[in-house]
């Protein structure tokens, strides 16, 4: 750390700076904007790295992260007490309690055959496929475990909902927490961007070239978001 220059932030403490009350208020806002930019960025650091890296993985399919061919699969047959009457989801949850498994439940889109219940339970590490005979009280349980690259891959898209299936709902507390984390990350990133605009605008000597960089960014991004559909209707 000896080669890192130390900047003493207190030297820029706006409370001690001279000026009108309004200027002093603006400086306090500016100072806290900078502080929060730093704090939010630090808090979200690992979340940002996870989603950035897994995004690259999803787009490139590098050889080292081919987790699916390295998955471990085992199948067992287990007996269970027939679950009480209720919806398929309630029956599935009762079965999971008996088998001591937890995760996000996904029922098939088609209604199950009479006396049968087929569903899937997923976590980022484990995927269970359950085929239960409710009359005989026997379930075939296929357990698939993925490695760490699989976990990173799945976490990127692990939301429990899909646009093409509006009936899907989050059923597990774990996925609700992860969904909350994704929202928090998105809002945190939006805050980081907006607070960076305020910080940049305060640096008068960087305004011009900053404007060029920002304009270039919006031009490039806007080309994809609205330009393509208009250029190639």
């Amino acid at each position: 750390m000896s080669s890192v220059p130390e900047i003493d932030r207190q030297a820029f403490d706006p409370v001690n700076a001279e000026g009108s009350e309004w200027q002093s208020f603006a400086r306090v806002i500016d100072l806290w904007n900078g502080k929060l930019h730093c704090y939010v960025g630090l808090y979200l650091l690992l979340f940002i790295w996870l989603f950035a890296f897994s995004g690259l993985m999803l787009n490139h399919h590098w050889k080292f992260e081919d987790f699916w061919s390295k998955r471990k699969v085992s199948t067992t047959v287990e007996a269970f007490h027939p679950p009480p009457d209720g919806s398929d989801l309630e029956k599935a949850k009762d079965l999971m309690r008996q088998l001591h498994i937890a995760g996000e439940v996904e029922l098939g889109e088609a209604p199950p055959a009479a006396g049968r219940l087929d569903f899937q339970v997923t976590t980022p590490r484990l995927i269970y496929a359950l085929h239960a005979d409710l009359v005989k009280g026997v379930v075939t349980l296929q357990r698939t475990e993925v490695n760490v690259w699989g976990i990173v891959h799945i976490l990127h898209t692990y939301s429990g909902v899909r646009r093409d299936n509006p009936h899907l709902q989050r059923t597990w507390a774990g996925i609700r927490i992860w969904s909350f984390c994704m929202d928090a990350l998105a809002l945190g990133l939006i805050f980081l961007v907006l607070s960076s605009y305020i910080m940049w605008w305060g640096l008068k000597q960087h305004r011009f070239w900053g404007l060029i960089a920002l304009f270039g960014g919006y031009l490039a991004c806007g080309f994809f978001v609205v330009g393509l559909a208009r250029l190639y209707p």
Binding site: C38, Y43, M182, V193
Partner: protein, 209 residues
């Protein structure tokens, strides 16, 4: 030595600033679309009505027999004849017709190619700006690797998305450096960084245990 480290600091700060400003629209795009994807919800508007038309075309030989990218190239010949551009998502056979969804941000086109009749039906639908953002968020994505990136703008977008991620990683790393040089923020920053690491590890542990 002091002046070199000072120069490193100034360069790092400037690169953090300018790269950050340049990729900020892309970061906003990914963040806003993440919220939509996480809730399968779009704030205003939505898909437009479907506009359908039929045209007679010349079907390239071998269209039905070919596979993968070679088949996509043949489909592109048909697309050129009816003035359709975009990324071919996949191709499937249904009742003697080739069904080809073609996508671009904000627009979805479904081509139904009938090789026996030399006709093609084009069903066009504007899906709106929010849907376009979600499409870009998921593009190119992990599926159908052998044919994805079959439109030049999808390949350019892949490059732009990659650049955004690499620069985001650079900005986060330089952000850590810029925090470390702020003497007054080190202690509180370390506490917040620690809280972030514990939250992240805790959530991932709960999900994977």
């Amino acid at each position: 030595m002091q002046s070199i480290s000072r120069q490193i600091y100034v360069w790092t700060r400037n690169l953090h600033l300018y790269f950050g400003l340049a990729i900020s629209p892309f970061v906003l795009l990914f963040s806003v679309s993440l919220i939509f994807l996480n809730h399968t919800w779009i704030p205003l508007g939505g898909p437009d009505r479907v506009r359908q038309s039929t045209a007679v075309v010349s079907i390239p030989p071998g269209l039905e027999q070919l596979e993968g990218m070679a088949r996509v190239e043949k489909v592109k010949e048909v697309m050129r004849q009816v003035g359709v551009t975009g990324e071919v998502s996949f191709i499937r056979m249904h009742d003697g017709a080739l069904i080809v969804p073609v996508q671009k941000p904000g627009q979805e086109i479904i081509l139904s190619i009938f090789p026996q009749d030399n006709t093609v039906t084009v069903a066009r639908r504007n899906t709106g700006i929010w849907d376009g953002m979600m499409y870009l968020h998921k593009t190119p994505g992990p599926h159908l690797a052998n044919i994805r990136g079959n439109w030049v703008y999808t390949r350019i977008w892949r490059w732009a998305a990659d650049a955004t991620v690499y620069l985001l990683l650079f900005i986060s790393a330089t952000g850590v450096y810029l925090w470390l040089v702020l003497k007054a923020e080190r202690k509180i920053g370390l506490v917040i960084l620690g809280a972030g690491v514990i939250s992240f590890m805790g959530v991932v542990y709960v999900l994977c245990a």
